[in-house]
Symmetry: C2
Subunit: 661 residues, 2 copies
Amino acid sequence: MIKASPNKKLKVHFDPDNIDIIVEEGENLLKAAISAGVHITASCGGAGTCGTCKVLIKKGEVESTRTEKLSLDEWQQGLRQACQSKVITDLVVSVPVESRLETEVLSQEMKMVSAAGEAEALATGWGFNPPLSKLHLKLPQPSSKDNISDLSRLLRGIKQRYHLSNISVEFEVVKRLPHTLRKNNFKVTATTLVTAIKTKLDKRRPTIINIEPGDTSSKHYSLAFDIGTTTVCGQLLDLNRGRVLAEGVAYNGQISYGQDVITRIAYCQKPGGLKELQQAVVSTINGIIEKLLNQAKVSLKHIGHINVAGNTTMTQILLALEPKYLRLAPYTPIANFIPPVKAKTLGIKVGEQVHLFTFPSVASYVGGDIVSGILGSGVYQRKKLTLFADIGTNGEIVIGNSDWMVTASCSAGPAFEGGGIKHGMVASSGAIEGFEINPENLKPVIYTIGGEKPRGICGSGLINIVAGLLEAGVISQNGKFNTDLSTKRIRRGGDGYEYVLCLAGESQTGKDIVVTEVDIDNLIRAKAAVYAGCQTLSRSVSISCHDFEQVIIAGAFGSNIDIERSITIGLFPEIPADRFIFIGNGSLLGARLASYSTDMLDDARRIARMMTNFELSENVDFMNNYVAALFLPHTDGDAFPQVSQRLKKLPPRHRGKELAF
Amino acid sequence: MIKASPNKKLKVHFDPDNIDIIVEEGENLLKAAISAGVHITASCGGAGTCGTCKVLIKKGEVESTRTEKLSLDEWQQGLRQACQSKVITDLVVSVPVESRLETEVLSQEMKMVSAAGEAEALATGWGFNPPLSKLHLKLPQPSSKDNISDLSRLLRGIKQRYHLSNISVEFEVVKRLPHTLRKNNFKVTATTLVTAIKTKLDKRRPTIINIEPGDTSSKHYSLAFDIGTTTVCGQLLDLNRGRVLAEGVAYNGQISYGQDVITRIAYCQKPGGLKELQQAVVSTINGIIEKLLNQAKVSLKHIGHINVAGNTTMTQILLALEPKYLRLAPYTPIANFIPPVKAKTLGIKVGEQVHLFTFPSVASYVGGDIVSGILGSGVYQRKKLTLFADIGTNGEIVIGNSDWMVTASCSAGPAFEGGGIKHGMVASSGAIEGFEINPENLKPVIYTIGGEKPRGICGSGLINIVAGLLEAGVISQNGKFNTDLSTKRIRRGGDGYEYVLCLAGESQTGKDIVVTEVDIDNLIRAKAAVYAGCQTLSRSVSISCHDFEQVIIAGAFGSNIDIERSITIGLFPEIPADRFIFIGNGSLLGARLASYSTDMLDDARRIARMMTNFELSENVDFMNNYVAALFLPHTDGDAFPQVSQRLKKLPPRHRGKELAF
């Protein structure tokens, strides 16, 4: 038989990243971009339905069909949907500004991470006793009077010097023992890890996971990771000094397969899909690890342990655990407590000995990131009645204190992340975040992240815009435009009425940037889901939304929002602003603390067990509360007395359509 | 670059096995035989120094140099040392009867195994509670009211139905959980294994190692193995009924690399040597497993667990643990307690889930086989003062009872296995085993195993021959021939004086079969080592060799010997014969019991901890006792009053050279 000749190799050049990649003829252009590390937005996971992955073919040709997401005009300009295109010649491709995922946003993500350490709400009172320990030993050499086995010699030494018994040992350590002991005259360093959890009956049982010749006890590091749907944050920790040596962040490599967990789970159902997504996030993790080690000049072989916090979907995909049933009713995760795995078996480039722990989860949509956040913020340690909220595509809410905790997840949709919004974008440079309105002429005053020319609207910007429009009477409490107002800023566009934030001449995209009634409606649905979730959960434990003594907002999105304006639109209950605390990336914070303290690791399990999850998707109360919340701030104005007061004080022409002259 | 053309393939045909194998040009002929599964004796492990691997090249040519082990005559006949020959043409090779390892001996090995079950000395009182369990569960399907994780559902079911909590689970099981649960409507069978050992503080902590759809609880099997230096015995166990379904035995595939552990350890020092030997024994194990499964019509996937007992060297090589330090003073094993390993990682062809347990050892030369023998024979359960001996190349001795145990290993050399004996052979068909002497004409009466024409002398035969010659006065108490006797049976041969057992015309080899003074000397050294070991060990605990209330003889060799005659030559102390018990393959017996009972598995660890090892190699008492024992039966005749009495009663001419007329 004659073997088919190998596929032709073609070169694809991506602008403005200026990156080349060689691919096989027929390769999907979106996949080529992913392989090249070029970040292209692709909300639908390559299904061709979102139209966000448009790229301009500057040179060469692709095989592609035009879908309704590309206008004939765009097609003739040379725009193509990357996910719908096959590479058939060498290419020069330009990724337009709208399709680009800027990495600059990441520095902001990192800022959150650092800010967390300074937050008021932090777990306290934990002892510094990392689950990973390094034990240096000078063992006596074997003699005819003392010829016990190598392992017995090691264990005896540990018992004598460190008063530890009941230690187990990994087979791989046994295997390397004779050489390692004899390499440096029976001076060795053993690394132990506590894997089992302390219970009433059992003492902790450390396992020897590594053995090195000589004294390596000064090199004692671990890694903490927050695996988010959008970004992955990592920290390199010095376990001798209990401090962060380096930190890094990157987009989750899965982002080009879909922006939300549901799209990613769907992608996993394709043949090889789960493996592909698993490798995507592992590759992101590997990139971060490499940077962290370079930054801190730490050698790979001295990493002993990885703690990972992530939502249930991210955790299951990282571990290559079938995520299918997370999105099918009744939404069951595979396991809340997943045994540690060897990181290397996942493809993570660390030593054979490195175990990866994942934070326990509570339910399909209340994951290890929330448990980690509760751990890091110490909610479970205090008597104070607390509302903890991590808001993104899903709003996860926890209510409780040191005695009890209830939790729920409410599907907010992508509006808070800038998704599903006509000119929505992630919170990176050029995103309109600040918004004020001139009450006289109704002209906007906008400011963008990075002070650049506007490119779109981010989630926190949208809240500010809608709150501003509401308080100025440009929109009414049902989110509809007051079209009687005498301003050109309100106009009828392709998606109904819209308000022009920025004219084409001033924008980075060369197009007008607007907020539409559909956008406002999306935001109202998102905020209503979160508020209704909070309300339903509160009522389920017979408390009122106003009883919270503390409100902790976690997550990158949460940390950017304006509390007053969030209350104005009815996202959060009307509670004095000084009870709100931002902790930034609480998930990473908890992962770090669990690396520092075995007690905290135990606490994480305790927290996961102690939380009661309320499933809202089929809850009638929730549905009623949700419908009641589809109003600005709420149909029940009494729940928002101050906001209602302010809205009433507006001059008549500003109070909405029905009152306009 | 031009790639070198692949090596030429050549065919080697082995007679009388009638096996063909294709090898590369230049392949070593001994290795070719090993690959082909043709058993050739090779005591020196291929060093060329023992001359036992002679084969006849009937057709074709090998590249070989003549060593002193081949006479010019043999060379001209076409005989070559297989280990010194390279295949350079197609070959037809005949393996002469002396070089052949007969597989028929194995059936005898198996007989021992079966006999063990009927022995008087057996562990008693153990509960039938296998470490491996199968738990069938009919779990409720998830619903919106009950959407706990798949794993929580499984663990809840196990707790409800089997009242087991504190269970851990392997990651691989978690991975397969969602599919398996849903394959048969949430009816599943979980397999659990107790790996951790019960201590005062800890409860037993079973681990879920497998999950299967439906009810597979009726198919519940494990394997028990004794890995001997010469042979490997295995049993397939039905864990529901507690019985042996099939048993099998084969030569240890390492046998062609050297007959004793020292040669094998030396072989492991060659590059790739350890791996080669590891694979050799794994291939033997795989062969046995295949046979057992076929025999019992059991499917591979229903095997859940393997228990292996072997000496320390065999155990370390099986697990690919460097055996070097076992043979270098001060003789340290890597570990007495080795954590369980996944059998598949060793190359054993079983399911991913199968854990392989190795019996704990006591020292470099008191291994898991002895611990297993003590377990199986119940020595540790009784108050009776017991001598336990497993005699082969090494004589391992245990003295003690339920309160205490001491142990030692004495290097007996290969004489008991027929090694180092001019016409020695293993105890297979044609081996002279029985021996009587006509006191009048000093002619021998011999009988062989299988009743075939004589081929050589096995170890137990040698004991009978030497005892017979001593009692007839043909040899004196120092093992020298009474050359004044008027019989042609005593003559001067190449190795000094010898006694002709069988003339060429009557033998299978076409040569005279003789026992030489050198052979007798070798036997005396062997028995002196065992006796001195027993004596040294007894004195170390201040008891006399005559105090034993029970003597348990384990092992294939031990089971074939004549007790009276063994006492006559001074191998064992003079104790009434009715106190001797043969248990056959005690090692396999213990491995089986530990598969049936978790208590027994715990006991094995307890036994290993409770035994105190005495290192004899540098012990002055032992050396003195050894020298004193280099006499038949012993220089201290008072220690053997009845034997001394019998020897005195012999007619004068039969009492040895110095008394001859």
